[in-house]
Point group: C2
Chain length 460, copies 2
Amino acid sequence: MKAIILAGGSGSRLWPLSREMYPKQLLSIDGEMSLLQSTFLRLNKLIPAKDILSITNVKHYSDVKLQLNKLNAENVVLAEPLGKNTAPAIACSLEYFNQNSTEDDVVIIVPSDHLVKDSDAFIATVNDGLKLAKKGYIVTFGIKPTYPETGYGYIKTAQALECGFKVERFVEKPDINTAKKYLEDGNYFWNGGIFMAKISVLMNEFAKLAPEIYANLSSLELNNCSKIEYSVYENMPSISIDYAIMEKSDKIALVKLKSDWNDLGSWQSLYDVKEKDADGNVITGKVVTNNVKNSFIYSQKELVAVSGLEDIILVETEDAIMACKRDESQDVKKLFEKLKESDTTKLHKTVFRPWGYYTCMNSGEGYLTKTICVMPKQKLSIQSHNYRSEHWVVLEGKALVVLEDKEYIVEAGDSIDIPVKAKHSLQNPYDNELKIIEVQKGSYISEDDIIRYNDIYGRV
Amino acid sequence: MKAIILAGGSGSRLWPLSREMYPKQLLSIDGEMSLLQSTFLRLNKLIPAKDILSITNVKHYSDVKLQLNKLNAENVVLAEPLGKNTAPAIACSLEYFNQNSTEDDVVIIVPSDHLVKDSDAFIATVNDGLKLAKKGYIVTFGIKPTYPETGYGYIKTAQALECGFKVERFVEKPDINTAKKYLEDGNYFWNGGIFMAKISVLMNEFAKLAPEIYANLSSLELNNCSKIEYSVYENMPSISIDYAIMEKSDKIALVKLKSDWNDLGSWQSLYDVKEKDADGNVITGKVVTNNVKNSFIYSQKELVAVSGLEDIILVETEDAIMACKRDESQDVKKLFEKLKESDTTKLHKTVFRPWGYYTCMNSGEGYLTKTICVMPKQKLSIQSHNYRSEHWVVLEGKALVVLEDKEYIVEAGDSIDIPVKAKHSLQNPYDNELKIIEVQKGSYISEDDIIRYNDIYGRV
């Protein structure tokens, strides 16, 4: 079996925790692992890492790769050069398997940002799906509705099969009255966005139902760590797998998902899955409360003190604070839209790179300070800056600094100055993490004031 | 005329904006000036700076002096070595005037943290008070109640005088029914904590009614910039001027305050004096709202986004976030009590010193970064540290650095390293402000790792 993890989401609904540059799937919601990592580990119980392909937007490629490499470096990540919804992403992922294997295997396609706690029940569902997929069905996982949700699509089932149902049709997000009817009817399931089928079956459906995607696939050359070619990808229509294939195909079956499931589509749904204290509160981080009930208070960094409020969500992150009514937490999307011009929706202050990460601490006119962490055996490109000098103080570990063709070893407690225009590279050939503070000083401070002399590794 | 500004408050009710180390009177609430500065300027219309004495706790001495020196360097600041409530502070201030002047002038005593917008009406009240004070009365300013407030003391007036009333008695904070009766009665006023009297009249009352304070005064030597002697001050009882003198004296008169007045005793009262937008919101700083009503949203630094909430107060400062119901904003005091052990109630990240100020930006294991601003013609003491090195990068201006008996001039963009145990001093003998970034690095990072070789000027 093979797997495709759809890791391209841009996460506006859990803002300010999720960002355009650091979406939900990359966050740890429940414990140490991110949702992406948990998804990978769930599949990895059945499927070897080399057969689990994650596909994401190029801007999240580094983050996705860094997180998955921590679990198993054999995993495969494909980068979309631009967002085109799910159908082109899935088609390219299938093409990757076709180009790199001769087997006509069954593939499971899953979102990367849903929460499933009971992995065993999930795997039992996969095994049910496998039986139907091997018979030529495109199997979708249906979630039995527990209330009349209007935010999900529904799937109407017809006659029973061996371990599932034939699907009669997919239906759009309903209004509340329709949702209530669906709930009573009993033949409707929520569409969880999880699919299984033989690669050949899906490819044939693409050829038949989405030829404008299919026609472009043969121009691609896909190895196990690559960016999909822009000139090919931009020709594909932006369309979801539901519209392109699922709603049109007559091969669709449904198996009922045996595990728990939460799409974490809002702060409310996150509140739902968290354990509450005696006052019905979910509290994370440095929080003090006085007479607070049924609320979700999340502090990432600074002290949050709340008094006399009920049914609210209050989230503090390193550069934004969001407060809303708990049962209107979908309105966060509206706030997010209002804020879209502002950088705060895009960037977290901590930015992950293949060589490690950096956090912007403070900036003012003519200066910027960062903490930089370089992982063992990693280095940054050789570079220079036309408008700023840099001053590095080593906090932890040992730095190998290349400065104008000389090498310096800078130990914890020592510092080094990088003058304007000097060629330099920060390197950590050692076994421990390297942490430094960087003070940038200059008339023009911007990430684009950089000349790179090699670019094999990432950029600061 | 002379004036005493009581600037010793510790400000828990506007937390997190006010702190034990940076109380309300030092904050700018309405425009550029702090409440202390506005109080000074209001009095300075009638009274020369050298006759305006501010008395504060020693821990706020630097801040108070820095703020007032910006307005007029001739002002006088006395520092209490420990908090003893208002009666000892006032007695020592009166003693200062006795020791430094032969005149038996009228003195006005005012809190430093109240908001008065109409200075002219305030001065008209002072002129009324002056007439009665010259006749030997201790004149208190009464505020005509507009609603049955239970948080203030009341003053009951008796027969009318030339431009005020005789006072029958002072009464404690009433319960709501009593407060309603006072409001209907018409002879009750709120006690605004503003007093006027001849220095000799007050001194005689201290001698008669508070001899245990009065007896200590003659041991003090008070010049125009001094800390009151600890060994003397600690012998005085901790008692308010109301209890010690006002409630017992038979010389009390009242003039009705002609100006507006707000004691800013809670976030609600701050909301009351601020201008609202069409939705009844008071919004300060980087704030985005969606469907928010009758709320006070204050952002000092980071983006604050609020959706779907009504009647709340949400305050963001550089190291704490506070949210509460608007009409229960007095509960902030409860939060503050809960937090008292934590440093967040005490320290702002920005600390003012006689030579300038510094802001802690970021800290982690073994390091701390600050931005430091040294005012023109100011310098820090010569010092050394046993456990940390320091690295200074000059951002603006020019630094004169004394390092082990050598002098270095460090210009913007340049840096200098201060090794562990090296004697050093940061100085700014120039005409422009000096701004630097300091990275402290060491096994033990604390303000108490410091050896000072002179201590005329402040400390980092």
